[in-house]
């Protein structure tokens, strides 16, 4: 087969278009535009609303709170991103989060341990419980052919119901009429960062997890194998990758991170496990959106998580300042994901021009 030279393009332009940041930025811009259209259609001034978002999230008074939410969403983004590296979708973050939280609460309330040890034990217990729970999906997928996306979704409400049962009937704070545990002892409180009110040691913990994830992903054989499976599972199997073990490890790690996030939420003010309080803010799916936007790449996660944190926290500001329902943040998250998925159109068109066949 003979070839002729392709029309040359300026390399700088090509490099710019192919840069991994182009797609996420484009998706966010399109989502912001669509959000504006929805607001105009609902009789809302988009400029005021978006100003409300940014101010709500980034005003100096709010930065502390924004930072703490950033940590939690980043954690949940890692929960989704780890299995995503090998092409699996972990949508059971809510159940894993709740199981981690309730376990940490139980340890914090009942374990007879001295101060420093108690916090550590509570976080570890949350991680282990949620990790073991999430790991169930691996054999279900590898041995029984039940996709991880299905099993995590079916397992999640079971764990949420279990947590809810425990806090309602077994660990309930009898004094208050609310479904919540008693306040954890001081020994079980996470350390603070300087005089910040919201962001605490939990944020540092999640950032550490991110660094570990990045190192494993880029510098180890296991990370290489995960990425290989994500690119072509049969290629990995043929090359000697233990798919079952990796899937187990990835799901356990993802669950453990969710457990850590759950523990962090319970070991922070108001230092209780409150029924529904862990899942209500929607950090799980904000994390999913951020992880998809970053393609699971660890170094892009902080950026995409920042975007969704601003949307999430700023949503409240938007509601207050511009009377825009907070749910618009969810709409924008969803639009980002959809736009991202539809980018294949552009890529397919690009591939078609360069395709060779016989």
């Amino acid at each position: 087969m003979s070839t002729v030279d392709a029309a040359p393009k300026p390399p700088l332009f090509r490099a710019a278009v192919r840069h991994p940041a182009v797609v996420p930025v484009g998706a966010v811009l399109v989502a912001v535009l669509i959000g504006a259209v929805i607001m105009v259609a609902s009789g809302i001034d988009p400029v005021r609303a978006y100003t409300g978002v940014v101010e709500g999230a980034l005003a100096t008074d709010n930065l502390d709170y924004t930072l703490s939410v950033f940590g939690l969403i980043l954690g949940m983004a890692i929960v989704f991103a780890i299995p995503l590296r090998m092409g699996e979708y972990n949508l059971g973050g809510n159940g894993q989060l709740v199981l981690g939280g309730i376990t940490a609460a139980a340890v914090g309330l009942y374990a007879p341990l001295p101060c420093a040890l108690l916090v550590v034990a509570a976080v570890l217990a949350g991680a282990v419980a949620a990790g073991l729970f999430a790991a169930i999906s691996a054999p279900l997928s590898e041995r029984l052919g039940i996709p991880v996306i299905i099993s995590t979704l079916l397992l999640s409400p079971i764990a949420v119901a279990f947590g809810s049962y425990l806090v309602r009937f077994r660990m309930t704070d009898t004094g208050s009429g609310v479904s919540q545990t008693p306040r954890l002892p001081d020994a079980a409180h996470l350390g603070t960062l300087g005089d910040l009110r919201y962001a605490n040691v939990g944020l540092v913990l999640v950032l550490l997890v991110l660094v570990v994830f990045w190192l494993v992903d880029s510098r180890t054989a296991v990370g290489f194998e995960l990425r290989t499976l994500g690119a072509n599972r049969r290629f990995g199997a043929y090359g000697g990758v233990h798919i079952g073990r990796l899937n187990l490890g990835a799901m356990a790690a993802a669950g453990a991170v969710a457990g850590v996030v759950g523990a962090v939420m319970v070991l922070s003010p108001p230092y209780r496990f409150i029924d529904g309080a862990l899942t209500a803010p929607g950090y799980t799916f904000a994390g999913v959106a951020a992880a998809l936007l970053a393609g699971g790449r660890p170094l892009l996660l902080p950026l995409t998580v920042a975007v969704f944190t601003i949307l999430q926290v700023g949503g409240a500001g938007m509601e207050r300042d511009a009377d825009v329902p907070r749910q618009l943040s969810e709409v924008l998250q969803a639009v980002v994901i959809i736009v991202l998925a539809l980018r294949t159109v552009v890529e397919a068109r690009r591939a078609r021009t360069g395709r060779a066949t016989t």
Partner: protein, 300 residues
């Protein structure tokens, strides 16, 4: 507690119907080779549209019609994205599910200025088939149900017959089994896939309408509460065959109705919440174990 009475059968059918309608849509898609996991979000949209339609028109049937049409339109995102533009259907569906949660929550805030639950006192629900009162057995089971309940069962059987016997059903199965081959025979794969995803949207619209205007008369944020995922599991269990989807969904309905009865005798509500998922998972595992025993070839 007595489960051996007709009212229990009625409760089973009521719980099963929304899931069945959505699962039939999922089964159609699977037969055409589309993995549709947007059922949850589309059902939620259907419930929202049904309540909005019924509220503004004062007629539950207008609500059903609006749910049907608007959910089909809503499913165009998945239809165009995955069938026409070859986007990853899983990622599109995750987006669609999230979009439904956001848009419906946003919608009741903007339209009615309420948060969480919208249940105006004059909201029209679907009529019960009270004319069946007094008919033995049939009346006991169906008199307190909306007409969508028997419709769903008839639809399941009709779809099973249509898939196996009609020329279009044959082509649809061909599209799912070997799209390239179907295309080479002049079957328009994209059109078939687009159509089934839209049809699944319409069925999810019906499912949502049954949920919000049949089972109850209210719209609550996230009221589908995972039923769309149970529907996806039912499609897997039934290997996409509509008649077996019916069986799987009745099984799910039984789990939910049984959970409610348990609650009636003092068991915690959380057990009722978890029961359908536990049962679905266990049955899924059991059928897969049998399947595994039959095929020994396991990739390492």
């Amino acid at each position: 507690m007595n489960v051996l009475e007709w009212s229990f059968v009625a409760a089973v059918l009521m719980a099963a119907t929304p899931v069945l309608l959505a699962a039939l849509g999922g089964a159609l898609c699977a037969q055409a080779g589309v993995f549709n996991i947007a059922l949850e979000g589309q059902m939620l949209w259907g419930a929202f549209a049904a309540v909005v339609g019924s509220h503004y028109s004062g007629s539950a049937w207008v609500g059903v019609l609006i749910a049907l049409v608007s959910t089909a339109a809503f499913s165009a995102i998945l239809a165009v994205g995955s069938a026409r533009w070859a986007a990853d259907p899983i990622i599109v569906a995750i987006g669609v599910n999230l979009l439904a949660v956001g848009l419906t929550g946003f919608g009741i805030r903007v339209l009615f200025d309420v948060s969480g639950t919208f249940s105006p006192p004059d909201l029209q629900g679907l009529h019960r088939m009270t004319f069946l009162d007094g008919v033995p057995v049939v009346g006991d089971v169906l008199a307190r149900q909306s007409p969508l309940v028997p419709l769903a069962i008839v639809l399941a059987l009709a779809l099973a017959y249509w898939l196996s016997r009609s020329a279009t059903g044959l082509r649809l199965r061909g599209v799912g089994e070997h799209p390239e081959a179907a295309g080479s025979l002049g079957v328009d794969v994209t059109a078939y896939r687009t159509t089934v995803v839209l049809a699944a949207g319409a069925l999810c619209g019906l499912a949502g309408a049954q949920l919000a205007l049949g089972n109850v008369t209210v719209f609550t944020e996230n009221m589908t509460a995972g039923r769309g995922w149970i529907a996806v599991a039912a499609v897997m269990l039934a290997a996409s065959r509509p008649a077996w989807v019916l069986v799987a969904c009745v099984g799910f309905g039984a789990a939910e109705a049984f959970g409610f009865r348990l609650q009636g005798v003092g068991a915690p509500q959380q057990l009722a919440d978890a029961a359908p998922y536990i049962v679905t998972l266990l049955v899924l595992v059991a059928t897969r174990l049998r399947w595994l025993r039959r095929t020994r070839e396991v990739a390492v």
